[in-house]
């Protein structure tokens, strides 16, 4: 190729990018103006922030805010709980159960049944944990709760659920699944809908049973979505909402051992109202999240490159 031809190729190539770029302008503008401009606020994590001095006028205090948080005497416990719950829920609820329910739902041909099942699964997502906690209380109450009444009718001794730390990992996982299954399976279901039905027909003609068809056709179609979910949720493994850990055990101090996470600790225990310390914790969570995200992406790229995030 001559130089002028090469140049022509290059400019043709760049010309192709223009319509793409124009499409992205609104999104990019938003990102810059509404997300990246306020990001200077991250410096609060390293400053002794006082309102009167503003963000830029407050004094730097290095890593003091981080020290405050890490020297908490329950640091090990809250990290263990936060990471443990997030990891298990991500794998169990979002990945495994989400895909399972979507696959099962796909099998239901009856349109009305399908609508009823899916609508009812979505409801808990929109109910706040304050109310779910009360429903939990109806079941778990120590004297009149439904579970204890059942146990008593079999002649057993009632269990004081809110005073037993050991049962809460199971209870919390159950409620997290109950709340999120609807939404989690929704996107997998949409991915399944995109499969060409001819594939299933030709597979059954070749003699494959239904379960085989699911394993070889449906499941691979879900992998891109699953890897996306995995990569993005793994970045949030140090985060997590406060509601489920605070409301569901109804703030019972006897079960803090297995229900206290970073978020509840910040809410309950930290030296009062410190914006700087919360900012430091947030910064730490973000940094760890990015690292984990990059590692997971790397791993996925090695296994199946087309599913990697970037």
């Amino acid at each position: 190729m001559t130089n002028s031809q090469k140049q022509k190729n290059k400019s043709l190539q760049w010309l192709k990018n223009v319509p793409y770029f124009l499409m992205q302008v609104p999104g990019l503008l938003w990102l810059v103006l509404f997300h990246f401009v306020p990001i200077f606020g991250l410096v609060i994590a390293f400053k002794d922030y006082k309102y009167a001095n503003g963000i830029f006028g407050s004094a730097w205090n290095g890593l003091d805010n981080f020290k405050t948080f890490f020297s908490a005497n329950y640091a090990f416990r809250i990290f263990r709980n936060t990471i443990g719950y997030n990891l298990i829920w991500m794998l169990l609820v979002n990945l495994f159960l989400g895909m399972l329910i979507a696959i099962m739902l796909y099998e239901v041909r009856n349109k009305i049944a399908n609508k009823i099942y899916q609508t009812s699964m979505l409801i808990p997502y929109f109910v706040s944990y304050v109310i779910i906690a009360y429903i939990g209380f109806l079941f778990l109450s120590h004297d009149n709760g439904l579970l204890n009444q059942l146990i008593k009718s079999f002649g057993g001794k009632e269990i004081y659920w809110y005073y037993e730390p050991k049962v809460w990992p199971y209870i919390l996982t159950f409620f997290d699944a109950w709340k999120n299954i609807g939404m989690a399976s929704l996107y997998y279901y949409a991915a399944l809908l995109a499969i060409d039905p001819c594939l299933f027909e030709s597979a059954s003609l070749d003699g494959a049973g239904r379960l085989r068809q699911i394993w070889y056709i449906s499941v691979p179609e879900l992998m891109p979505m699953a890897s996306v979910v995995l990569i993005s949720k793994v970045g949030g493994v140090l985060g997590g909402g406060m509601d489920i850990f605070y409301q569901l055990p109804m703030n019972s101090s006897k079960v803090y051992e297995t229900t206290e996470t970073i978020a509840t600790y910040l809410f309950r225990g930290l030296a009062s109202g410190s914006i700087s310390t919360s900012a430091a914790v947030g910064f730490f969570q973000s940094v760890i999240g990015v690292i984990l995200l990059l590692i997971t992406n790397r791993i996925i790229r090695k296994i199946s490159p087309e599913n990697a995030m970037f």
């Binding site: 309102y51 009167a52 120590h142 809110y162 005073y163 101090s253 410190s274």
Partner: protein, 543 residues
């Protein structure tokens, strides 16, 4: 082409610039933003408009205008962070005052409070010096207290009226009035009472619940005789025995009083007087009375109710039925005599409701003058403005005629006919809680504030208070800022174990749990903090 663009841009900039200038140069009115509990009542706009008109007829406020805004803790943080103009704001028990002061949220008011500048506030400061002291920090006055009928607090033991005959009232009162700390005999009386009511099947009825409120009893009965440094049962529960002249600082969990209570808490839990759901759902009484409860007097009801008979050391909680007859619902045993109420440490924010001038205020001098105006003596224009703000329009007043509506009828010094009982809410036509905007005693009463309460409090402040006994640390204000992390750590340990222990949930094994907690607390540098506070206290005593 390029030149064309330039000239167009230049023209645009000029127009923009002129527009901005003229916009800014327009008003000469001074606008004060008052953030508080405006609940957006139906007729709020009307009343605020009338208030502003009336204000502008007062000398010195001719071009001042007030804009009322809704405030809550989220908004507050954001306003302070973004330097949004707020000239007057409410602050109090839902705000951590020490943190706010350290963050620089409030303007120091000392330079503004002088006899000529703010005569009313200045006079009030002399008269209610303890209350104003609770709004000062490290020698500077930041907050102006909204006086409330808190006076002569005594801890009370509450018995439903249906069960009063089962309690040895004289025994309890004698024992408490002769001992500043709660002795074992008091718990034994309570024990007998519980046994008696259970035997008579008098509990778990339509009006009486099944369980006692053990957390309340702990808070007000077990802690008698100890004063807590650094505020309300926080600050790592550091305290001292009020009768101790050397003010030895201890952690409350170390004291005999605490362990004594734990013994009985465990017993009552085993005997079934404490709800099995106590950590989760409290005493499960709902709208029924707990079998036994405790609280503190003061606040909103006077300590004497002579119209229903007088018993020594007892007050009553009274309700009115539909026919207008009053009947007693609860017996409140006053566990302390006035002589037992000693003056102790000075706590920041103890008055619980204050007005402040944030640092974002553009006109602090005018703001404080307005607050001074609203604290004018009864009969003056400023006082009328205050009542206008709190209650709205009086029947047959000039506003009522002008706006075609009224909110209350004045009889004596009481505002009748307001469409709320205890406090205004968003469904009434108009109302702002008087403790949100000023000195409660300078506003008209509403029917739920009993007659003579203002005088009662005033007498307490001017006479009784001055004859109080003082503890060794009277007036002492501790500085815990260097130890906030240690204290937070100890506090989390306490938060985790305390409820279990005081509710007796571990039953007979409570000693093991207690030892576990104490070893953790000691491991969290309790000794260091105690030593630091002790040295501050010793220094204070020797001065």
């Amino acid at each position: 082409m390029f030149k064309k663009i330039c000239s167009v841009c230049l023209a645009l900039f000029m127009i923009l610039g002129i527009a901005l200038c003229t916009a800014g140069c327009g008003d000469s009115k001074v606008k004060l933003i008052w953030a508080g509990s405006t609940l957006g009542n139906e007729e709020s706009e009307m009343v605020f408009e009338a208030f502003n008109k009336e204000l502008q007829s007062v000398k010195g406020f001719e071009n001042v205008e007030i804009d009322f805004q809704k405030q809550d803790t989220t908004n507050w943080q954001l306003w302070m962070a973004s330097n949004t103009q707020i000239d007057i704001a409410w602050t109090g028990y839902s705000y951590d005052i020490e943190t706010e002061i350290n963050n620089g949220s409030y303007t120091a008011l000392d330079e503004y409070i002088t006899e000529e500048n703010t005569p009313n506030i200045y006079a009030e400061k002399q008269e209610y010096s303890a209350d104003y002291a609770s709004g000062s920090y490290k020698g500077k006055q930041y907050l102006i207290p909204n006086q409330q009928p808190i006076a002569n607090l005594s801890n009370i033991l509450k018995i439903p009226v249906e069960l009063k005959d089962y309690m040895n009232i004289d025994g309890v009162l004698n024992e408490c009035h002769s001992n500043k700390k709660t002795t074992e005999k008091v718990y034994q009386y309570i024990d007998e009472y519980l046994a008696a009511v259970t035997k008579a099947h008098a509990i778990d009825t339509d009006t009486v619940a099944k369980y006692i409120d053990i957390q309340g009893i702990f808070k007000f009965v077990a802690t008698r005789g100890y004063e807590f440094i650094g505020g309300d049962l926080t600050g790592a529960w550091l305290c001292y025995d009020e009768e101790d002249p050397s003010a030895k600082i201890v952690n409350f969990m170390e004291t005999d009083a605490y362990r004594l209570f734990l013994k009985y808490a465990a017993k009552w839990y085993n005997d079934g007087y404490v709800s099995p759901n106590v950590l989760v759902n409290g005493s499960e009484s709902g709208s029924r009375s707990p079998v036994l409860n405790a609280h503190s007097t003061g606040m909103w009801y006077a300590t004497e109710n002579p119209e229903l008979g007088e018993e020594r050391g007892v007050t009553y909680a009274i309700e009115t039925d539909d026919a207008g007859n009053k009947f007693i619902t609860m017996y409140n045993l006053l566990l302390e005599t006035p002589e037992q109420d000693w003056q102790g440490v000075s706590t920041l924010g103890s008055e619980k409701t204050y007005l402040c001038i944030p640092y974002t205020s553009k006109n602090p001098e005018i703001a404080i003058k307005l607050l001074d105006l609203l604290r004018a003596p009864v009969g003056e224009k400023g006082n009328d403005l205050l009542n206008l703000l709190v209650y709205g329009f009086e029947e047959n007043s000039k506003y009522a005629e002008e706006y075609g509506t009224y909110h209350y009828t004045l009889e004596g010094d009481c505002a009748y006919g307001v469409d709320y009982y205890a406090q205004p809410d968003s469904s009434c036509k108009y109302g702002i809680a008087h403790w949100f905007v000023g000195n409660v005693f300078k506003t008209y009463r509403t029917p739920n504030i009993q007659a003579g309460q203002g005088d009662y409090v005033k007498k307490y402040e001017t006479v009784d208070r001055l004859t109080h006994k003082e503890t060794a640390l009277c007036g002492f204000r501790v500085d815990l800022s260097e130890y906030s992390n240690v204290i937070a750590n100890i506090q989390t340990i306490i938060n985790e174990y305390n409820d279990t222990l005081i509710c007796g949930i571990d039953g007979s094994n409570y000693n093991a749990t207690y030892d576990e907690m104490m070893s953790k607390i000691n491991g969290a540098d309790l000794a260091k903090v105690k030593e630091a506070v002790q040295s501050q206290a010793d220094k204070y005593i020797s001065e």
